[in-house]
């Protein structure tokens, strides 16, 4: 059978969601941000809640998320997205409010906002892209940078003694009564993508059920920051990042696993 006979509208089984704009992603080739963006928009599309969704973009490579996600979005100051989301969801209790943040944004400068929004159990979703580095500014050390890992501000590798251990902020917020669903996923293979999408779906369903805060960490590559090709980066990620940041659910239905 000829390819052209197959490539017909009626045979289409997958294409880009309409909730992503036509604007070309500013991300580096193979960067997980793109996949995470798409999964989030696919979930919102499938739930049919786009009219009631308000997103909060961070400061980081995904600062331009609002150029790509075809929904109402507000851009927050570095680290403060959870504060914005708190206010928005308090004032619009029936809206689906989510933040999309990187590890520097959420776990360094935004630590207090993250911890307290989680502790208050705001009825929001936090999507947390952990790529172990500050991508936007050119690859500096993040709270999640692994021990011995090189970055432009740990050029000889992260030294635990002087720079501290990689921070498992996700495990910390799981300790708080306010968090209802806490999970760690990745988006570098088809299997992981499918799992991650399920997790994001569950998170947004929790908003509908007013269950409190859902925290979805996505361990992702910053191949530019790591100075690898995308596929090298994904392999390195499996071998090193997953060892320290194991994938899977951490807290489900408010109960720690």
């Amino acid at each position: 059978m000829e390819v052209l006979d197959i490539i017909k509208p009626e045979n289409q089984v997958f294409c880009k969601t309409k909730l992503m704009t036509d604007c070309a992603l500013s991300y580096c080739p193979g960067c997980g941000h793109g996949t995470a963006h798409n999964l989030t928009m696919e979930v919102i599309d499938e739930m049919g809640i786009v009219e009631d969704t308000i997103g909060v973009a961070p400061v980081g490579c995904s600062v331009l998320a609002y150029d790509f996600m075809n929904i109402d979005m507000t851009q927050a100051a570095h680290g403060r997205a959870p504060a914005l989301a708190t206010a928005i969801s308090r004032l619009w209790p029936d809206k689906y409010v989510f933040t999309y943040q990187g590890d520097g944004d959420l776990a360094a400068i935004g630590t207090a906002e993250t911890i307290h929004a989680c502790n208050r159990g705001e009825n929001i979703v936090i999507i947390f892209i952990n790529n172990g580095i500050y991508g936007m500014t050119g690859g500096q050390m993040a709270p999640t940078t692994l021990a011995g890992m090189k970055s432009s501000t740990s050029p000889y590798g992260r030294d635990i003694k002087t720079m501290g251990s990689p921070l498992k902020i996700t495990e910390l917020v799981a300790q708080l009564p306010g968090t209802y669903f806490v999970t760690r996923q990745s988006v570098h293979t088809h299997k992981n993508v499918r799992k991650a999408k399920k997790a994001i779906r569950m998170a947004f369903e929790n908003i509908k059920l007013k269950r409190g805060l859902s925290f979805v960490e996505i361990v992702s590559n910053c191949n530019s920051g790591w100075k690898m090709t995308p596929n090298e980066a994904n392999i390195w990620m499996e071998e090193n990042m997953f060892a320290y940041f194991p994938l899977g659910d951490i807290k489900v239905d408010g109960i720690l696993k």
């Binding site: 059978m1 390819v3 006979d5 197959i6 490539i7 017909k8 045979n11 289409q12 089984v13 997958f14 294409c15 880009k16 969601t17 992503m20 070309a24 992603l25 991300y27 580096c28 080739p29 193979g30 960067c31 997980g32 941000h33 793109g34 996949t35 798409n38 988006v187 570098h188 293979t189 088809h190 993508v193 499918r194 090709t229 995308p230 596929n231 994904n234």
Partner: protein
């Protein structure tokens, strides 16, 4: 017994040639083109069309959603 035949369509302008679609294609259908698109990337294309099962693995890992997937049932 019915077998499926798939095909992908790559948006050669949005493709960034990152190659993350290659390892997830169990049939090794995809390769990168010799020539480049306007942004200077060697974009992906179906090197082995006959082998494509339309599983969508490549499409869902594509950060830039440059791949659309099509599938038909064909009787062997």
């Amino acid at each position: 017994m019915a077998k499926v035949q798939g095909a992908i369509q790559v948006n050669t302008e949005t493709c960034k040639g990152c190659q993350v679609c290659m390892p997830v294609c169990l049939e090794s259908v995809i390769e990168m083109a010799k020539d480049v698109n306007r942004k200077g990337y060697h974009y992906a294309y179906m090197a082995k069309p006959e082998a494509c099962t339309g599983c969508t693995n490549c499409a869902i890992v594509c950060p830039d959603r440059a791949i659309s997937v099509y599938r038909v049932k064909v009787s062997a």
